[in-house]
Assembly symmetry: C3
Homo-oligomer: 453 residues x 3
């Protein structure tokens, strides 16, 4: 029943990830960007290999095409080798090698000549964003298609075009990565992120790179209280596969967790709650964002759209909340080639996202139920914890400490007290230490999230 | 455990009331208008006879004058044959035959000559509405009086006037009508309306005519789940008499109900809650009005003024809420001769009121507790229930369905889900049907209002 | 089970305090003002002697210096005989005899010559209020100092000054007063006020004088339901001493109570809740102020600063709320010589404070659980309790009575009903009496605060 991560033991610096978490995430994201990812296929495996170099204990898992995951079936594996549109003059005017977004994800193979008028039904563009290549997939119905800038599409000359997609859709496997970082407790904090989108920066790569940095930070902590379960999965089918294979253990052990997505730009912070809305994950995330970014955006469960749809589904009901920067669907570059490093995702943006989730995890590790050991207010003056001269103004200096003490009644956790008096958890945690040392406060229980003090 | 009114069985059309409920109500109201109604007397019986022609199973009941009803006593029966004010020249300047409002309700007989100055204390008019004849009654204290336009009153020449009221107040009876429409369940939905006011249109006739249309609609439904208990009573003393004679059965069987009054104009919709405020009747009524007329007026229990005062009194506590158009006391023509068909009450106004209560009843019949049958989100795509091409915009099309499914966890009724996601119950009920057919949703219980699933 | 203070027995007049409570308080305050009070010492004893002349049953208690009170120790007793600053020319430019605020409370003795530059560190003034002498104390660390007008301080000529403080700090005692007014019940209402500040009017003297007036009013009531425990203590250490010596009895008997402080000016009314925030004391105080002064200021527990810090501390948790006029720390003259009778504290201000607490106590004595004895609404007309002529407007006259009756269901206290329908408790209590006489209402229980009906 000791402090699982004492304030000394819990190192919130970013030294463990090379001195600056944002720069680390940015560099890793740039390395992952060229890989041609989809729901399945060699791109997912290449991505996991790069992550394993960062996280040696990350294990790769796979399930065969056709495997069931609740109501779903793992689709055939998709391999894409080449894809282009060529003019009669032999010029490749749309080429998958320039940008993997040019081909509709999961396109079946094709090699044919089409008149422009016939070709149009296979083309996808965004008239409202004429310079952006849109991101389109068709995982569960066979079709093919090309995505291109609308400006280019409008300039296509009438005539014949050759369309080539050299892909295969065949039984294979779905891959995902899993990292378990054991703590003193079997109770788990769960982090999930996805690795199934091509090169987009905020809505894809920010998730795995910030999660990798968080994992490296957690690995560097000697004295974790919770066990951390961290997964890199293809979205939806990957989380369903993972859930269906680990449901009992997840339901019995996971006490908190976060879905890590869209966490790399600088424009805002966002919060999306679990289905229940009031789990410890929700409360911790709200508290962190309230003090880190009071003007952050709060979404509701009705705005959901990522793997919380599975993790919080009826009968599964894991306590998974989401801390984001600009949420999917809510920024103009979303699901286009313009969601890129540099203009959208930055080292500062990624670093801010990293620190938000890190603070949430630190609160989970540090929350406790404090109780004042004396009746009446403690006399801080005789212990040099209180200004001894009663004059106008000085009383304000210890207002936060006295407010905290006044609620240390053994019925509230420090996070609940921080919520009540509207002060940052971290400040109260620091104020608590000298009071514990002075034996004015005792800790009735750590491990508040687990409910097993 | 089957759907009490399957979507096929529950016919919400207005064919059953002649194709247009509003027109039906308007015509019936015009036929009832000339009858000289009061708390008791031949007018109430004539009214019930006309209603029995529409509702053959409506039974007329009576209790004797002097009967006790809780703290009240049924007053003597009042019969009014003639009432007028005549000038010395023999001109009838105020004549009950022109408008029954001209005589104060329950006036005792009189035949005398009075100077204008002496007459004034027996006259009632509305200086603020000089062209309106006010509605005044004195049921429990013997007096007599005339009501007239204030414009006319101001023009009365000094001199003698003959006042004649040919009425009798004598032991007789109090009449009311009761219609029981049995359903598969003994649990009851209770509708009450009153038939004790003279010819006013919104505050009187709209109530019984809309209730009659609702009863005809319910009679046409083969497969009612609930039993419907529908009463036409004089206000206050009539509801007290009905309660005192049926209290045990009402308290043990009534699971929901509505007081039907002031439901015929087009100016607004209004809601007045039960005393408890959160019964299923309140929740259904709020939901219907929120979607039918988002700008409707919400009153509180402190604004009450009709028979909910009895039905929700301490120790009685029936779950009775009130859906209105313009509430009694809240529109300028209230309790005057200007509350008339045409200027105030219209076919469209009556039809809107009919449909509001009809929708409330349909929700009571159809509410259920749905539960998704699979873990994780169901895959709607493979069942052609979901767009299979993931591109911007298409996800929005099934947002309502996915939101509903996400809350089908077996702990909430469909009405609660509709409230949570702020969508109309009817839309969700329709979305639910293909999911039930696809066996993605099962119904844990119907009969939510009764609490006996 | 009888009304503890029947409406006849509870006399809310101010005759008992000489016809005008405000004038009584003002005169008593002026008499107490010249006494040199501090946390301990002869001034406290002189104050108690004057109060004993008003409250013959008030008993003086003392505890020795060095006694423990929870985490605190009673300090040495401080006696101050003289204190001044003298120029080289022998002129006393700052003299404790002019105003006791001139010497820092608990100053140790000194008699020395200092250069002005060396003297400055021992001087306290308020540059923002150049004409005010600030109030400074140093109870728990030995130091000495003088307080003076900043205007005077700026005019001090360079040179030598003699500073003399003829004080002693030696083992002695801490004094407090206690008055028990027995009622029929052993359950107690607790009033606490403090007597440790020098001559300031709102933040000190208003408290003991209003408390004395309240005690005299309570003494005059023959038939108190509750026992009243009223204490006059030095702030903080005095309340801690009192708590530590009476904790079991206080925790088992006190059902409500108020800390009486800062209750003498006319600028506003204020409310500061108990730590729990929803005790009967809080609810009563909020109700009184809502109707007495709808624009009063509502503070939170985080704004606390007086003895509620001890009475509501974790593990003590007495139900003590605070009704004030201008709260400590919130008015410009606070803790300066300008907090004086006349400009700040007035007879009207004191009288208003007296009446607010008096009304709160009267609600505690009179609250009850009423239940209507009949089903349905009672017929008030036949008992001459209701206008018998139904016409526009008259219904409004009894709206309050009917609203009250509609909630007299035996589950709510009269105070809860007053809160629900937003009417003053006193009005409802008066409306209730004829209904009880008419046997339309019975009282299920008095003694609502105690929870032992």
């Amino acid at each position: 029943m000791t402090n699982p991560l004492s304030p000394q033991a819990l190192d919130l610096s970013e030294a463990v990830v090379g001195g600056n978490a944002g720069a680390y995430c940015y560099e890793l994201g740039r390395r992952l960007q060229p890989i041609v990812r989809s729901l399945t296929g060699p791109g997912v495996r290449q991505t996991l290999e790069i992550l394993q170099a960062e996280l040696p204990d990350l294990t790769a898992h796979s399930v065969e095409s056709g495997s069931r995951a609740f109501d779903w079936t793992v689709p055939d594996e998709w391999t894409i080798r080449d894809a282009y549109i060529e003019t009669a003059a032999g010029e490749r005017i749309v080429d998958f090698r320039d940008n993997p977004l040019h081909v509709v994800g999961y396109s079946e193979p094709v090699d044919t000549w089409l008149d422009l008028s016939d070709l149009q039904q296979y083309l996808y563009s965004r008239p409202d964003m004429p310079e952006a290549i849109p991101y389109v997939t068709s995982y569960y119905r066979r079709r093919w298609g090309f995505c291109l800038r609308d400006a280019q599409r409008r300039d296509l000359a009438p005539g014949k075009y050759r369309v080539v997609i050299d892909s295969s859709l065949a039984p294979g496997q779905l891959d995902y990565g899993e990292l378990i970082l054991p703590g003193r407790s079997r109770d788990e904090v769960f982090l999930s992120t996805y690795i199934c989108h091509p090169n987009m920066a905020n809505n894809e790569l920010s998730g795995p790179v910030v999660t990798t940095a968080l994992a490296r930070w957690l690995m560097s902590q000697d004295d974790r209280h919770y066990t951390y379960r961290i997964v890199f999965v293809p979205e939806t089918i990957g989380s369903l596969v993972y859930l269906s294979r680990n449901l009992d253990i997840l339901r019995s052990r996971v006490v908190a967790g976060f879905n890590v997505t869209c966490i790399g730009d600088e424009r805002t912070y966002s919060f999306l709650p679990s289905r229940a809305g009031d789990t410890v994950s929700d409360r911790v995330a709200r508290h962190v964002l309230q003090h880190l970014a009071p003007d952050h955006r709060r979404y509701t469960w009705l705005d959901r759209g990522s793997d919380e749809r599975q993790y919080c589904a009826p009968g599964i009901d894991l306590p998974i909340a989401t801390i984001m920067r600009s949420k999917y669907g809510e920024y103009p570059e979303y699901h286009t080639s313009m969601d890129d490093f540099g203009p959208v995702v930055t080292a500062d943006g990624l670093g801010g996202g990293f620190r938000a989730v890190q603070r949430a995890i630190a609160i989970l590790e540090r929350d406790c139920v404090p109780q004042v050991t004396c009746l009446g207010e403690p006399q801080l003056g005789k212990r040099d914890l209180y200004p001894d001269l009663s004059c106008r103004g000085s009383a304000g200096q210890v207002r936060g400490m006295m407010n905290m003490i006044s609620y240390c009644d053994g019925t509230r956790s420090l996070l609940q007290i921080a919520e009540l008096i509207d002060e940052p958890f971290e400040m109260l945690f620091d104020l608590l230490q000298p009071l514990i040392e002075a034996r004015l406060i005792r800790i009735l229980g750590w491990d508040v999230a687990s409910g097993s003090e």
